[in-house]
């Protein structure tokens, strides 16, 4: 039991630290690796919250596929270092927005946490499959995602290919 608590809060601390690292690193490759660490520690948090299937999916799809795509593009384009943080109007707007969002989320979390029910909801992948396929509530949306993925694939190829005659 105590191991669960250590794992959860340890993963939370690692997620926050690497999240800060994502936005503070100048080099995009360092940001990408920090983001992989964030995603893996979020997977640990998902598992500790009782959804093991989503945790596995997080590692395979996010930390595996999507981040490899990002790293591939960064290395392909040989992206150079960021020249520095935005100063001036946009930088001030970012700080302002960050403070407002942080205050709002602290209020929401502290108010909302008192009203949350805490139920016994450990789930396995069969539960997710039953939720997806046993009622038509999510079934059509699930079928629509296949069209979404297909059109994204075609769109990516069309956008990224070289024009003829160039």
């Amino acid at each position: 039991m105590i191991l669960d608590v250590i794992l959860f809060y340890g993963a939370a601390i690692v997620a926050l630290a690497s999240g800060i690292s994502v936005i503070s690193q100048r080099n995009p490759i360092n940001s990408a690796f920090s983001l992989i660490v964030t995603m893996c520690s979020l997977a640990v948090m998902f598992a500790m919250l009782g959804s093991g299937f989503i945790a596995v999916l997080q590692v395979v799809v996010y930390a595996g596929a999507i981040m490899v795509l990002f790293l591939f593009v960064i290395m392909l384009l040989n992206a150079k270092q960021d020249e520095g943080d935005r100063a001036g109007g946009i930088g001030r707007a970012a700080v302002f927005l960050g403070i407002i969002l942080a205050v709002q989320s602290v209020m929401v979390v502290t108010k909302g946490a008192q009203t949350l029910p805490e139920k016994h909801a450990v789930t396995v992948s069969a539960d997710v499959a039953r939720g997806l396929f046993s009622s038509p509530r999510f079934l059509y949306a699930f079928e629509a995602t296949s069209i979404l993925i297909l059109s994204a694939m075609v769109g990516a190829i069309v956008v990224a290919r070289k024009e003829k005659g160039k």
């Binding site: 964030t38 979020l42 384009l77 992206a79 960021d82 943080d85 029910p117 997806l132 995602t145």
Partner: protein, 119 residues
């Protein structure tokens, strides 16, 4: 499905009061990560880093979905995370294709230099 329930009680059975704090803590982490992503979109100049900040925000929302799924004892939150995964994959594929096309035409990845549509 008696086997499934037996598996669940065997693997995750002994729930204690210590786990009751997980959901508010997860929501707090989720909120903080979302704020980080939103600030990162504004302060970073490299368009690839901006896209990674968007992924960070999507991950924060996923964490909130899983936490609420746990708190309410329903599976719907996890199914929505599944849909967020597919949308994120499609977004990353198309977005990075656009980045490659931009690099080919402009030879620059600074978001400030993409001002063709600016009035």
């Amino acid at each position: 499905m008696p086997n499934l329930e037996a598996f669940q009680t065997a693997t995750m059975g002994g729930f204690s009061a210590a786990h009751a704090g997980f959901v508010p803590a997860a929501l707090a982490v989720s909120a903080f990560l979302f704020v980080l992503g939103a600030v990162g979109v504004f302060i970073r100049r490299n368009v690839i880093t901006v896209m990674m900040c968007i992924e960070l925000m999507l991950n924060a929302v996923n964490l909130a979905f899983v936490a609420f799924s746990r708190a309410h004892g329903t599976i719907d939150g996890q199914i929505l995370v599944f849909f967020v995964f597919t949308v994120a994959a499609a977004e990353a594929a198309v977005g990075l294709a656009i980045v490659i096309a931009l690099q080919r035409n402009r030879e620059d990845l600074d978001v400030d230099s993409f001002n063709l549509l600016k009035g």
